[in-house]
């Protein structure tokens, strides 16, 4: 059973290797391999999620090395949820891409699978250095995916993206070095035990390491002041890549949540709650800046990119509240915002394709060729992302605000979240009317989009409705995930006590 845990990393890896070999075959082989692999991934992830839902923490010791020395993959409810979200988003983006977007540059599917490998690995790993490695895999794939298709805007954004993230990687390594020097371990569970017992001499080093990690993960999550690379990069990326990127900021948020919950938790002795006090102000400022960005955008895709930043900021401020309830609401919010965010990027591309040279600009007048379909999809997406009833965005926001009531600066959270919500509604309705209503006398162009693309887009946008219908089950899952995250002891004992015993030549897998 435990070998199943390796599959989310192994499936994209094997698919990627195969794609490398069959790359020149052409005639759609790559599409078939990519789709088969992603469907297989989704089924494995659903199986894993079913297992994780029981509350058991699965641990995979790679190479059967004893725990603090070998690399472990760990699956708890949180990891399973994020894996599932990534797989769903990937499948929809992939179905969108196979109608031509994968042919505007070389080796789209290979890069796509490598990106999935990195994302899945980052969600599963239980080791800090291994997290770095998976981050690098997902980053190098994302550089190439962002650049997929070429063009001036993409090259310009890619240069920012790559240089900033390379500096980020250097800082990540410095943080790892500092933490290793202070504690002598990089295994997350082992770290959780050891940080509580750090001596006074090492504390400063450990704190510096922890805060540097926060900086790096903030860069990935695109928080202010290190998140300004995101809007141009996402706005210029090709649609399926941009839709998949909707999960990338969540990888950063996930890493912050994992470090905050496990290593720098409230019982971590001298470094207890090291990160938590930073999160709320960081999140609040990010939300404010991103809202301004949303209002100032004159192009739909840039507006959506600012919405991605906004959702990352909202997540971080919720995590800053520091209660399991808040974490649970953050997870629910992440589900909704990722699905709808990804769907909106696909929709923006459909709109851009149907408007010819006007693309997704909000200032030029040009009607889309299927105003009824795209208009309704835009309406659904806007409701989902802005947090209006009856879709899940509303439930997420309500849940989030409920968990902020008790907090000392809850009033700030209320003010910022509600005002930003209002301004987002204003910006989205302005964008919607600019695209669908203010069309002047220009002729409609013939559409070059296909039904499959519309279906993939609609599937993601309707994810918000599905989440609302299944809100009861989903929130009970996210609450259980948050409680599990709060219980560091369970994680630590699952990883450390489950040591692989090598006795007199015989190897026993599990005790």
């Amino acid at each position: 059973m435990n070998h199943l845990l390796l599959l989310p990393v192994l499936i994209p890896l094997i698919a990627g290797g195969t794609l490398l070999l069959t790359g020149r075959w052409g005639r759609g082989t790559d599409r078939i391999i990519s789709i088969v692999s992603t469907i297989a991934l989704l089924s494995v992830v659903l199986l894993l999620m079913e297992h994780a839902a029981t509350g058991e923490i699965m641990v995979y010791h790679s190479g059967n090395w004893p725990t603090p020395y070998g690399i472990v993959l760990v699956l708890d409810r949180l990891s399973a949820l994020m894996l599932c979200l990534a797989a769903i988003l990937a499948l929809a983006s992939l179905f969108y891409s196979i109608n031509g977007d994968d042919r505007i540059g070389p080796r789209f599917h290979l890069l796509f699978q490598m990106q999935l490998l990195g994302i899945n690995g980052a969600f599963l790993t239980g080791d800090l250095f291994n997290l770095f490695v998976f981050f690098e895999i997902l980053l190098i794939a994302s550089y190439a995916l962002q650049f997929h298709g070429g063009g001036k805007a993409r090259v310009r954004a890619a240069l920012h993206l790559v240089v900033l993230n390379l500096v980020g990687s250097a800082i990540f390594l410095i943080a790892i070095g500092a933490i290793y020097a202070a504690t002598g371990t990089l295994n997350l569970a082992d770290l959780a035990v050891k940080v509580a017992a750090t001596g006074t001499e090492q504390q400063l080093l450990l704190k510096a390491g922890g805060l540097l990690l926060l900086l790096v993960f903030s860069l990935k999550a695109a928080l202010v002041p290190v998140g300004f690379w995101l809007p141009p990069a996402y706005a210029s990326a090709s649609a399926p890549a941009a839709a998949l990127f909707a999960i990338m900021t969540k990888v950063g948020v996930y890493a912050i949540l994992r470090m905050q919950g496990l290593v720098f938790g409230p019982e971590a002795g001298p470094v207890a709650s090291l990160l938590t006090p930073w999160l709320l102000p960081l999140g609040l400022i990010t939300v404010v800046i991103a809202t301004l960005g949303v209002l100032a955008s004159r192009e739909l895709r840039r507006l959506l990119a600012h919405l991605v930043v906004l959702s990352a900021g909202t997540l971080i401020l919720t995590l800053g509240l520091g209660s399991p309830d808040a974490t649970s609401s953050a997870l629910f919010y992440a589900l909704n915002s990722t699905l709808v965010g990804g769907g909106l990027f696909l929709l923006a591309d459909l709109i851009a394709k149907e408007r010819g040279d006007a693309l997704a600009s909000l200032t030029l007048e040009q009607p889309v060729s299927r105003p009824a379909l795209l208009g309704s999809l835009f309406f659904i997406g806007a409701i989902g992302v802005a947090g209006l009833p009856p879709l899940a965005g509303f439930a997420a926001k309500l849940y989030l605000l409920q968990s902020a009531v008790e907090h000392p600066i809850g009033a700030w959270v209320f003010a910022v979240v509600l005002v930003s919500g209002l301004l987002v509604v204003v910006a989205l309705s302005r964008a919607g009317s600019a695209i669908f209503w203010r069309t002047g006398n220009t002729q409609k162009l013939t559409s070059s989009t296909t039904a499959l693309q519309s279906v993939a887009t609609a599937a993601l946008l309707l994810g918000s409705a599905a989440l609302m219908i299944g809100a009861g089950a989903t929130t009970s899952y996210t609450r259980a995930a948050a409680l599990q995250l709060d219980d560091q002891l369970a994680y630590v004992s699952a990883v450390l006590e489950n040591r692989v015993i090598v006795a007199s030549g015989s190897v026993s897998g599990e005790p």
Binding site: I140, V155, R156, L159, V163, S169, A181
Partner: protein, 109 residues
């Protein structure tokens, strides 16, 4: 030795930051490489510095060096190498497409 090493790392990092802030692709590539070297030496030192000792393990030797940072550095070097190669290609592409080697690409749109 600690002092020498920290001065070395500090000087390299400072030079790297200076080069990065030049904001032209070639100095930025150099700066990132230099930053990579500084970080690798820092990582190497994170396991503690030992002198007159075996590189890995020698039977009967008490003062053993920590092998883990060496493994980390090795991985970091490989990753850094790949990333630098990618960045060089991207920088050339940017020079060709944008006709400018400034990292900010010479103004928006």
């Amino acid at each position: 030795m600690e002092l020498t090493l920290s001065i070395l790392i500090g000087t390299m990092t400072a030079s790297a930051v200076y080069l990065l802030l030049r904001a032209r692709t070639f100095p930025v590539v150099l700066g990132l490489s230099l930053l990579g070297y500084a970080v690798n030496i820092f990582l190497f030192a994170s396991g503690g510095l030992t002198r007159n000792s075996a590189p890995l393990v020698e039977h009967g030797l008490k003062n053993l060096p920590d092998p883990l940072p060496q493994a980390l550095v090795l991985t970091a070097i490989v990753i850094g190498f790949g990333m630098t190669a990618f960045l060089v290609v991207l920088a050339l592409r940017a020079l060709r497409d944008l006709g400018d080697d400034r990292v900010d690409g010479g103004g928006e749109e």
